[in-house]
Symmetry: C2
Subunit: 311 residues, 2 copies
Amino acid sequence: MRLSDIGERAAIDRMADIYGMVTLDDCAAIDDGDDLILVTSDIVNEQSHFPPGTSPWQMGWFVVAVNLSDLAGKGARPLGVLLSLGLPASIDASFLDGFADGAHACTDRYGTAVIGGDTKEMPSVALCGMAIGRMSRDAYMPRDAAEPGDLVCVTGMLGRAGAALQYLADGSDEAALHDLLHVEPRIFAGRALADTHVVHASMDISDGLAASLYQLARASRCGFAIDADKVPLASRASLEHGLYHGGDYELLFTVPPDAYDRVSEALRETGCPVSRIGEATSNRLLLRRDGATVPLEHRGYEHFSGRGKTL
Amino acid sequence: MRLSDIGERAAIDRMADIYGMVTLDDCAAIDDGDDLILVTSDIVNEQSHFPPGTSPWQMGWFVVAVNLSDLAGKGARPLGVLLSLGLPASIDASFLDGFADGAHACTDRYGTAVIGGDTKEMPSVALCGMAIGRMSRDAYMPRDAAEPGDLVCVTGMLGRAGAALQYLADGSDEAALHDLLHVEPRIFAGRALADTHVVHASMDISDGLAASLYQLARASRCGFAIDADKVPLASRASLEHGLYHGGDYELLFTVPPDAYDRVSEALRETGCPVSRIGEATSNRLLLRRDGATVPLEHRGYEHFSGRGKTL
C-alpha cells in the first residue's frame, strides 16, 4: 500500500492517531492562562502548488498567506511566522531575495513578521510555513460547535482559485496567476468574528466549500442544507468552482439566526463581504438547487494539483 | 550565483535581513508577560541526513529531537511539536506508522506531544519539524551574553556523531546508526541550567563545537581560548570529531568562574556530565594544544552530508 493509494488526508489521520491527537482543527491550541496560543503548519511544493510562471515573490506571499489563513479561521491575532525551506543547490540565489520579499510583504500586511526558520539544500523545492497566534480563550471559534438551526455563512466570493486554474490550463495568464496565488487571508474578518462571541463553528475553506462542509459536519456531528443559488461566486467562477475547488481561503462559519445581524455588522466594519448560504441540520449534507434537493457531493480538489478527488 | 555557491548559512542571513530579524538565536522568542514563548524549526531530508539503513522510526525520533534541542539550548520547557512532511506518492504507507511511532516516542520521553502539522505528496522526502516552548523571561539563556573571563562548558561527550559517520562510511553498523540518529536533546539539563540564573550564554552545538564557538563569539562579540585536552570525547571519537563534526546536540554555555560549582551541581542532579573546556576572552578563537596556542579553525560539517566545509 502506497501513500498515493491512501491519500493525504488518511495519512494525516493515521499519524494523528499515533500521536494521540484528540481533535483535528485548523490550528493546535496551547493553554496560556485566559488566552490560547495557536500554532499551525502548511507545507507546499513547486510541482503541486505553483503553475509555470509563478515568481519567487508569489511563492513567498502564498506560503505565509495560507498559514495565516488557518489562524484567521479561529479568529487569532498573528504573533509570528517561521519559514523552513528545502531548496535545490542549483537554484539561483536571487530566488532567496524574491521569496523573502514576498513573505515579508504578506507578514507586514497582516501586522506580523517572519521570526525564524531554516534553509537546507534538498533535491526539490519544499516550502514549509508555520504561524503562531494568540487569542482570548472565550473567543475561540472551533470546528466542532455547529448546531442544527445555525445559519451557514461564508466570507468573500468563491471559486476564484478554481476559475483561475481553468484559465491557466489554457496558457499563462498574469491575472489568473494573481487570482490563484495572491491569497488575502481573512485575518481581520476572523478577529472581528471572534470578538462577537456569537459564532458557533468556523474554519477556512482551503480545501473547497463542499470538502470543508464535510469536515465541519464530521467535527460537529451535524448536517447541512446549502442553497446553490446563494453561494457567492467570483467573476468567471461557476458553481462547480465555488463548491468543489480548493484554494479560496475564505471563512466558513455558523451562527444562531438571531445573531446574524451582529456578525454581519462586525464584518462590514472590516470591509469583508458575507453571505448566508444555508443552515445546519441534524444530519446529511444536502444541496438545494433548481427546486430539487440532492446530496452535496463529497469531493474537492486537493491543493492545486488539478486532480479531482472523491474525499 | 547558485545556492550551492553561497551556502546555507549565507542564504539564511540574506533572508533574515529582508525579514528584518535583529538577532539570530537557536529559537525565536515571543513576549508573554513574565514568560517567553520560544519557537524553532528545522527541516531535514533523507539524502543529507539519513544514511542507508535508517528506519522510519529513527527519522521520526530524530526530527523531533533536533527541534527540541534548540529549546534545550535556551532552557525552555516544550509545549508541543508540529511535523509537516513532504513524502513521495510511491512511499510505503507503513512509513507513516514507523515515523509517527518514533516521533511520538521522542515527544513522550521529553514530556510533550505532536500537536499538529501537515502531510503532502512531494518528489522527495522533506521532514519539517517545529517546536514550541515556554520559560521564564529572566531565566532565558541567549547567545549574545558571553563575557571575557567566563568559563566555557559543554555537556556530555563530543564526537559521537562524527565517529559514527566514519564507521558508517565503512558499511552498515547498527550501533553507529544509533549513535548518529538517536539524539537525546538536553531538555532536562537546559532547564536545570536556566533555573540557576547564572549562565551567561548558551546554545546547542548541532553544527559542531568549533562552528558553534564561532557563532557564540560573533553574537557576544568576544573570543575563546579552548584547551584541546579538556574537550570530552565519546568512545571511538577523535579530537577532529569532537571539534569539527556536527550532530552531537550537546549544550555549549558560559558561566562566571565563581558560579561553576552551582551549575555543576544542578547538572549532576539531572545526570548530565559537564566539562570546562576553556574560557571566554576579548577576541580571537584559539586552541591550546600540546603546549602551543593555534587559531581554532572555522570549519565544521554541515549536517550529515559528509561534506567538510570552511565556514
